[in-house]
C-alpha cells in the first residue's frame, strides 16, 4: 500500500483486493460480538478534517477509527480557526505538530488532499475532494457488489447521473476498472465531462437501452440546482429520462442490484419503491462503509508507528 489514499489510482489490483479482504475479515471478527472494537490502532491519532458538511461520511470514518481504538479528533472547518481564514497549509502544520498519524480530509476543492499530503508526515485519506475523487466510497461500493454478487471480474456496472460533478463516479470508474468490472456511464451529454472518452468506461445517453444488460445500477445524486445552469431543462424531464423508477427496475436482470451513495433525492433520480426494494443495497453500503474504512485505516496505519 502507498502511504496515502488520495485517489482510486493509488490502489493496484492487489492492494484493492487486500482492502476488500481485510474489510471482510474485520466483519467476520466483529460479527456477533457485543463489544465491536479491536485494539489495533490504540494510541494512534486520526484527525477528521472536514471542510464540507458531510455528517454521514464523517460519522463513518469516526466510527471506523474508534472501532480500531484510535483517538479521534473531529476538526470541522466551521467554528474553528479555518473560518477565520487560516490556510490549509497552516492547518496542516498544526495537525502535524499535534502528531496526527492520519488525516481524513473532506474538501470542496479538487486536489486539496494532494496538497495536504505535501505538508504532513502522516497518512492522508481522501474523504471526497471537490469533483475529483472519493476513493473509500468506491471501495465500499466494490465491497458491496462483491458481497452481493460474489465477484467483481466481468460484472457489468452502470453509473447513472451527474458524472460531470461526481467524485463518486470518478473513483468508481477507476477502481471498478482496476478490479475487472465493466463500467457504462449513463447521463445526458451535458453531465458528462469533455474528455470522458479517455476513461476506461463505455458511455451511453440511453438508460433504457443499458438497463437490461447490467448487473449493477449505481444511481448518482443529482442536484436540482443544476437545472438552473441549463444542464437539463427541468427536474421532471431529468427524472423521466434518467430516473430509476419501478418500471425501469423491472427490465433489470433478475439478480441485478441497485446502489446509491446517498443522500438520495427520492422522486428525482430514484423512486421510493426502488430505493426500498430488495434489490437496493443502500443500507448495506452504509454498514460496509464502516468496515471498509476500518480496513483502509488499519492497512495505512497498522504497521510500525510512524
Amino acid at each position: 500500500m502507498k502511504r496515502h489514499l488520495l485517489e482510486a489510482a493509488d490502489l493496484d489490483r492487489a492492494d484493492a483486493t487486500l482492502v476488500l479482504d481485510t474489510a471482510a475479515q474485520i466483519d467476520q471478527a466483529l460479527a456477533g460480538r457485543e463489544v465491536k472494537k479491536l485494539p489495533t490502532l490504540r494510541g494512534r491519532t486520526v484527525v477528521n478534517l472536514f471542510y464540507e458538511d458531510s455528517t454521514r461520511t464523517r460519522i463513518s470514518f469516526e466510527l471506523a477509527a474508534k472501532r480500531l481504538s484510535a483517538d479521534v479528533i473531529n476538526f470541522s472547518a466551521k467554528g474553528s480557526s479555518v473560518s477565520k481564514g487560516e490556510s490549509l497549509k497552516d492547518t496542516a502544520l498544526t495537525l502535524e505538530a499535534m502528531g496526527a498519524d492520519a488525516v481524513v480530509v473532506r474538501h470542496s476543492s479538487s486536489g486539496a488532499p494532494h496538497r495536504l499530503a505535501n505538508w504532513v508526515r502522516g497518512s492522508v485519506v481522501n474523504a471526497g475532494d471537490g469533483t475529483h475523487e472519493h476513493p473509500t466510497q468506491a471501495l465500499l461500493d466494490a465491497y458491496t457488489i462483491r458481497q452481493r454478487l460474489g465477484r467483481l471480474e466481468g460484472v457489468r456496472v452502470a453509473i447513472v447521473g451527474d458524472v460531470l460533478h461526481s467524485r463518486v463516479a470518478r473513483s468508481n470508474v477507476g477502481l471498478l476498472h482496476t478490479l475487472g468490472a465493466d463500467v457504462t456511464l449513463v447521463a445526458p451529454p451535458t453531465l458528462l465531462p469533455v474528455g470522458v472518452g479517455s476513461w476506461p468506461a463505455e458511455v451511453s445517453y440511453d438508460l433504457d437501452a443499458v438497463l437490461p444488460k447490467v448487473d449493477v445500477v449505481m444511481m448518482l445524486r443529482v442536484q436540482a440546482e443544476r437545472m438552473n445552469a441549463s444542464f437539463f431543462p427541468s427536474a421532471r424531464e431529468y427524472s423521466r429520462r434518467y430516473g430509476l423508477d419501478a418500471r425501469r427496475m423491472g427490465v433489470l436482470p433478475d439478480d441485478a442490484i441497485v446502489m446509491h451513495p446517498g443522500p438520495m433525492n427520492r422522486g428525482m433520480e430514484i423512486a421510493a419503491e426502488v430505493a426500498d426494494s430488495a434489490r437496493s443495497t443502500i443500507v448495506e453500503q452504509v454498514a460496509n462503509g464502516v468496515s471498509t474504512r476500518m480496513a483502509v485505516l488499519y492497512l495505512l496505519l497498522g504497521g510500525a508507528p510512524a
Binding site: G111, V194, G195
Partner: protein, 434 residues
C-alpha cells in the same frame, strides 16, 4: 557617461564584431574597434540582440507591493534582457486614469532599469461597462498607446467595437484578453482529458477562439488595430492566420509558458501551474511554436504575474492564476525555438524586440526608441546572451519579489550576460548593476 566597447559579439547571430556604445547610442560597429576610456566588455561567443521589449508585464504597483514593485519587476526585466516592459493596468487602483499611468511611468523612470510603459485600462475599473478616459492617458506623460483590461475580457461586443474605433485617433491598440466569460465560469484548467480526470472545472479552447474570431471581424469592420494577448490554442493560431491573410490589422503574442508547458503540469495540483489562459495540450504547444516561427504570432509576451506566497500555497481553486516570466523568457524561447532550429537569432530579435516595440509604437521615439536594429546611430539598447550556458532555475535567486516560477528546478539554456539601456549597463556579468 561611461562608454562601452563590446568585443567580438555576434549581432543577431551574425559575424563577430565590436560594438562601441557612446552617449547612449551605438557609435560604431566594426572589426577591432578601439576607444580610449571605454570600458571593454569581452563578448566572444555571445549573441547581441536589441534590448527585449515585453508587451505584457504585471508589476503589481500600486496595490500589491508585497508581490512586486515597479523597481523589483524592472530589475527582473533587466536581468531577463529587457529594456522596455508594458505594465498592465490591473493594479489597485486600476490604471484607468492619467494620474495612475503617470504614477507608474514615474516609478519606472526613478527605477531606471528599463522603460516602464504603462498600459491603460480599456474600461473604468476593468468592469467592462464604460470606456475609461483613453485619450487622457494617451496624452499624459506616460504616452499610453496600448490599452487592455487584461485579466478580464472586454466581453461586450459593442463596447469592444467602440474601443477599437476610439483609439484610432491616437494610433492606439486594444490588447484583448480573449476569454468569453460565460464559458469559463469557475474554470480552473484547460478543458480536456486531464480536467475530466482531475475534477477541475474546464476552460474550453473555444472560449478564447470565439472572442478572437469576433474581434478580428470587428477590427476588420472598423479598420482598427487589434492585439491579442497570450494566445494559447491551436484554433486561435488558425483564426489569426486566416485574419492576417485577409489583411486584418491584428497582432498577437504568446507567453513563454505556453510555448513550453502543458496541462500535464496540473496533475500535481500545485497552483504554481495555474494560469489564465491555462496551460494547454501538446498539440496546442506545437501550433503555438509553429505560429511564432512563421510570424502568425508576432511577439513573445511574458505575462509575468508575480503572486505572494500565500496566494499560491493553497488549494488549486483558491490560488490566483499567473506565473513569473521575465527572467526566463529568453531562455524558454532558446529552448523551444532556437535550439530546435525553428527561429534564428534574427527571428528572436524580431519576435522579442522589433515587433513588440512596433505594436506598442515605441519604435519611432527618437532617442527613446525601442526595438531598433543594431546599427550605428541607433539608441544603445542591447542585450548580450551566452547561448552555450545552461542553468537550473532557483526561484529563491530571482530578482522578482515573488517566487511563483513554473520553471523551478528545470534546467534551461542561455544566460543574459549584460543589458544596456540607452548605453547604461543595467546588467553586467549577469548581475544587475543597481
Amino acid at each position: 557617461m561611461t562608454s562601452y566597447l563590446i568585443k567580438g559579439a555576434r549581432p543577431c547571430g551574425g559575424e563577430p564584431a565590436d560594438i562601441l556604445l557612446t552617449d547612449g547610442r551605438i557609435a560604431a560597429i566594426g572589426e577591432s574597434l578601439s576607444a580610449t576610456g571605454a570600458e571593454v566588455v569581452e563578448a566572444a561567443g555571445l549573441i547581441a540582440l536589441p534590448g527585449l521589449v515585453d508587451l505584457h508585464t504585471h508589476l503589481r504597483e500600486p496595490g500589491r507591493e508585497d508581490a512586486e514593485t515597479v523597481e523589483t519587476g524592472s530589475r527582473a526585466a533587466a536581468l531577463g534582457g529587457f529594456t522596455a516592459v508594458h505594465a498592465m493596468a490591473n493594479t489597485d487602483p486600476v490604471a484607468d486614469t492619467a494620474g495612475v499611468v503617470e504614477q507608474v511611468w514615474r516609478l519606472g523612470q526613478e527605477a531606471g532599469l528599463v522603460d516602464v510603459v504603462p498600459v491603460g485600462a480599456v474600461t473604468v475599473g476593468l468592469a467592462g461597462e464604460r470606456l475609461a478616459e483613453l485619450g487622457a492617458m494617451a496624452d499624459s506623460a506616460a504616452r499610453v498607446r496600448v490599452f487592455s483590461d487584461d485579466g478580464h475580457c472586454v466581453a461586450d461586443p459593442a463596447l469592444m467595437r467602440r474601443a477599437l474605433e476610439y483609439v484610432k485617433a491616437f494610433d492606439g491598440v486594444v490588447a484583448q484578453h480573449a476569454e468569453e466569460p460565460r464559458l469559463t465560469v469557475g474554470a480552473q484548467m484547460h478543458e480536456g482529458d486531464r480536467s475530466a480526470r482531475l475534477g477541475l472545472t474546464g476552460w474550453p479552447a473555444a472560449a478564447e477562439e470565439a472572442i478572437i474570431a469576433r474581434d478580428v471581424l470587428l477590427a476588420e469592420h472598423v479598420g482598427a488595430r487589434l492585439h491579442v494577448c497570450h494566445v494559447s490554442t491551436a484554433g486561435s493560431v488558425e483564426i489569426l492566420r486566416w485574419a492576417k491573410s485577409r489583411g486584418v490589422q491584428v497582432t498577437a503574442e504568446v507567453t513563454p509558458h505556453h510555448l513550453l508547458l502543458t496541462d500535464a503540469c496540473a496533475e500535481s495540483y500545485d497552483p504554481v501551474f495555474k494560469v489564465n489562459p491555462p496551460l494547454r495540450t501538446d498539440a496546442d504547444v506545437e501550433a503555438l511554436r509553429a505560429g511564432l516561427a512563421d510570424g502568425t504570432i508576432d511577439a513573445v509576451g511574458t505575462d509575468h504575474a508575480p503572486h505572494a506566497v500565500e496566494d499560491k500555497e493553497s488549494e488549486w481553486a483558491q490560488a490566483r492564476p499567473g506565473m513569473l516570466g521575465l527572467e526566463q523568457a529568453l531562455a524558454v524561447v532558446i529552448e523551444t525555438m532556437v535550439e530546435p532550429g525553428r527561429l534564428d537569432w534574427a527571428g528572436v530579435a524580431d519576435r522579442m524586440s522589433v515587433r513588440p516595440a512596433a505594436i506598442g509604437r515605441l519604435d519611432g521615439l527618437g532617442d527613446r526608441s525601442q526595438g531598433r536594429p543594431i546599427a550605428p546611430g541607433e539608441p544603445a539598447n542591447l542585450v548580450l546572451v551566452d547561448p552555450a550556458a545552461r542553468a537550473t532555475v532557483d526561484p529563491a535567486a530571482l530578482a522578482s519579489r515573488s517566487r511563483n516560477s513554473p520553471y523551478a528546478g528545470r534546467e534551461l539554456p542561455g544566460r543574459v550576460v549584460a543589458t544596456f539601456l540607452r548605453g547604461t549597463a543595467t546588467v553586467l556579468d549577469g548581475k544587475a548593476t543597481r
